[in-house]
Subunit: 344 residues, 4 copies
């Protein structure tokens, strides 16, 4: 059994890691941190997990001297920066779920996040999107787990950029996320009655995930640029992403477009291509590590439209982190992640 | 007191007409039709309205020989076609909330709706968007009340097309609607557990409101073409529309863009411009006839982003129909429509 | 025009007062307080009301020297206690929406609220439930507006206790409230994802509304005692109350029970009796000042079951406060409150 | 590997059986029926399960001649009656999720269900509530899987009736269910906008689960009688049950009451006792086979209050059916059911 630690266990990503890891046969959670709840049994702090863990929450600094095979950082960005080095030991892989080490360009990071990361760590970190970086992930010591929106945007776009089927500018990414994506800290904006029966855009063309998406896609097609607007859906889980791109091909058909997706992802265990006339829906991936993708062609405007649905806490965060852990530890990539979606 | 009839009183648009008309001091609802509930008191069929009306539901054909000042058709498209002429009398104005007479091109109608309308009526009908067609509405005998999505898309786009600030092609309209927009007939797709916790796109680049939006915008800028994808939000009311357009101006600023909106709509009683850094939210227009609009500039991509929020049953249907009635009867345009939004 | 002030304008009760008062033809809102937003235009702080008020938020103490006809206190309990006397002037009626002055027994207040009220004010205050206290309300200078749960429980129970049809002990009140009842301050418990998809009881047999309900019912039937459990429904508005009482009559019929309700409330403008086989639903009173009530008989167990539905922010708070204001100012009791429910 | 069949695979209970069975290592789903979708791949009909099954939906009568170890009937009551005998073969255990064979008294069945069951089968069926009937379940050939409401009511009540701590009359069961409990067939009542933002009681003191609950409890305390009112919560999954019973003990304490529960269920794998001051919540059992229970004492009224939370589709239906299957096949009772709840 490999020993792992979950830091930030009582946030939504941490809870989700614990939910999923309880089903993993080759890994044991050896320690959990939750600064505010230090000293309390983790299963009293997370009532859904009552009976699943006998661990006591610790403060992060109590874990600096313990050895783990894998350490998951489900912490605020700033805190990931401040503790990451403490866990980057010889035999430990660190999987950071925050955005702290995702951007290769430290200046860009400063601009979008408003504080400094550790440039050297960002430089060495591997971006943990297995569908794009599988081989590098296997060898990484620090894995920067992708953001939820980037996961939903990059996977559908990559094959079309790779084949030059769409322009790499003028791409519109209109994303709609459930509220768990905003984390567990209460705020006026996320108070139940402010969200329920509402629907809004936020941070239009100014969200931190923009440089992350562009960085990943530019590795495929140099100079890729997107306009990105996220929206808040009055529901808990799920990101639905609608992407509009300009076709470079005059005469492509819907069937050819679907074949691009099917060919690109035919061996991917967690990518499901939804063929016309069906379309993805967040309620058919909920609780699972799948990303469901579809494509359509608006022939009237030579526009290619892509759709994806993920559970932001699974494929968009903790499930993908476990997928990365599996790759890193040499396990079957799907271990502990074979749960079907919970519908309805 | 003017006498009006509400046909299709027990659908969501019909119920909303009755809710709003009960507050109108110069109009009396003289008759309601509801074929399936004919013979029953309307306030037993619509429990929210218990005590507000003493009318009995009738079959539509029982109303052919009665005279009304205004007849609202809150009927399925096909039924509007089949009964409209019966009510188009010398002194009666017909306001059709269906899509039956919105498209000037009868061939286009056939293509998108799959059946024939009455070309002659469509030709004479006035498109009932007061912000665009106020003067014609005043004189119309048949008013084609706009669709909910077109209302949310045309009002924000019109000023920018009129001034040549955006290209009239490559416009992306990504709209998100509550479930009441789909009407009151039960179906598997709209069964509560299928919608709740879900989020999906439907009819991408193939929704009937596409030609309606393009027709209205092409009157402003010949040849306007849009890519339109509607989505279903697990909530009752509200349409949030996010629109992406290519800027024709190299050096325009956000402030200039906001001034375009403010100038265009400064005298409009139901258009509210939401200035940066605020953005619209469907929960601040709910139950009211307002359309809240904002604009942003994605300078990195020369993309202008527009946002609008409406209550699909009010400004997107019945409230706008009453606004049209007020114009038609020479009343103050806001009569019966001055309710503030219900928040939260 | 009478001049009123709304203190605590940016909480849910305050917002609802402003929504409803904007529709009242004989009253003008002359001042609003909102300590945290002092200096800002009220309609920028409450986006739903944009354009409805030209007032600027003030600090409460800025209003001590101004004269108003009516002052609404939509404040925390403690703050009502601390400022009430400042507004109780010769020609001013104070309507307190908090619980500060509802309990006649100051010791009981201390026990349930954990702090002291002003016994003398509580003693002189009139409990503002018009269906029970109309005549006293007309003459009151301080009106203690009822709690939301008490409104939903007292109105259905009163007629049956008055006629001795049910026992006054062993009464079970099982209430289910939307989240706005918990106020607008963000907290972990009311963070959107914690509430959505959840359902729970809270403060079982220990909620502050217990002594309030028992006090009001004991004026009708000395010694009335209830077991009260409130629950949180993942929705914004509405309280549904299910009440179980032991029948004192061996042979009463459902029809006789319904007649008790109809007779008791036949002249009440805001009480609607829902006859079998129909039942109330919070979605048919939403946005309105109605309380819908029904009764059933469980003959197998000699149990009488009562049901009520209210909008907690209207009949359960701000609407009832305006009803009290109307009584106090000698207006028609329904002025400004004739809006139909918003369905769906 | 044992071979099982799931009849009625595309209803919510059927889908949930397939979700859970995909995780069961000793059982293979050998056939599924879905009359309306016969001939289609089951994973195209249930998009959430895409990739999990390679089976084709069949008509029920195509399965009459196949041998299975276990047959799950996730069918309407009437259809269970009509096909049950076809599957009750020598080596087959039938687990019926409908209500067809739950009531021992065929006359009572007729009265509450309005049609005839097969008295002989009802007589031989074992009521599949493992916490009460574990040993009989192991030997049963026909297992009548409990209703969702009965599961939530019987488990908390049984220990207190067994010990004579509460009266067996005057018990109030006030239950609140998510919408999936009403099945997957669309209807006006369950159309999204009719449910969302609503809350209502239905079938008060007249629901079919009353005789089922009374039958089970009367085996513990002869003559137990309940008043039962179910309510509809605008959410998908979960039943929260609040139970009020009269204490027979003058001086019992909360601690003693909690000990009754802990003692009764200390070896039960799926019963979790939630100790004061915590209370259950449906959102901490969602997706899992747990029932979370708590107790409170209303000393002022000698009333004992019980609370339970289940996922109606798991412990209230398909999870419990698999628990019964495990018992029947001699497996560890928890096989395939060790998933933690999905929170939030």
């Amino acid at each position: 059994m490999k020993r792992v630690a979950v830091l930030g266990a009582t946030g939504y990503s941490g809870i989700e890691l614990l939910r999923l890891l309880s089903l993993h046969k080759d890994v044991a959670v050896a320690a959990v941190s939750a600064d505010k709840n230090a000293g309390l049994p983790v299963d009293s702090v997370i009532p859904s997990l009552k009976g699943f863990y006998k661990l006591t929450c610790q403060k992060i600094d109590q874990l600096f001297d313990t050895d783990f095979d894998v350490v998951f950082l489900a912490l605020p960005h700033e805190q990931s920066v401040s503790v990451c080095r403490k866990f980057l030991k010889k035999n430990t892989v660190v999987i950071d779920i925050s955005g702290a080490f995702r951007l290769k360009d430290a200046g860009l990071f400063k601009k979008w996040y408003g504080f400094e990361t550790i440039a050297e760590l960002s430089a060495s970190a591997v971006y943990g999107l297995p569908e794009i970086k599988r081989e590098q992930i296997k060898k990484a010591r620090l894995i920067a787990n992708p953001g939820c929106y980037p996961t939903g945007a990059i996977i559908p776009l990559a094959p079309f950029l790779r084949k030059g089927i769409i322009k790499n500018t003028g791409i519109i990414v209109d994303a709609k996320s459930g509220v768990t994506g905003a984390g567990r800290s209460p705020s006026q904006d996320l108070h139940f009655p402010e969200v329920s029966d509402g629907f809004k855009a936020y941070k239009p063309a100014s969200h931190r995930h923009i440089p992350e998406i562009e960085q990943a896609l530019s590795e495929i097609s140099q100079g890729t640029s997107i306009t990105f607007v996220p929206h808040l859906v009055p529901t808990n889980r799920g990101i639905f992403t609608t992407i509009y791109a300009v076709s470079e091909k005059k005469k492509i058909t819907l069937q050819e477009l679907e074949e691009v997706l099917m060919e690109a992802y035919k061996d991917e265990p967690f990518v499901r291509i939804i063929r016309s006339p069906e379309l993805p829906n967040v309620n058919t991936v909920k609780g699972s590590n799948f990303i469901d993708i579809a494509v359509r062609l608006d022939e009237r405007n030579s526009t290619i439209i892509l759709f994806s649905a993920i559970d932001n806490l699974v494929k968009g965060a903790s499930g993908q982190a476990i997928q990365n852990m599996n790759l890193s530890l040499g396990f079957d990539e799907t271990l502990g992640l074979t749960l079907p979606p919970v519908f309805p």
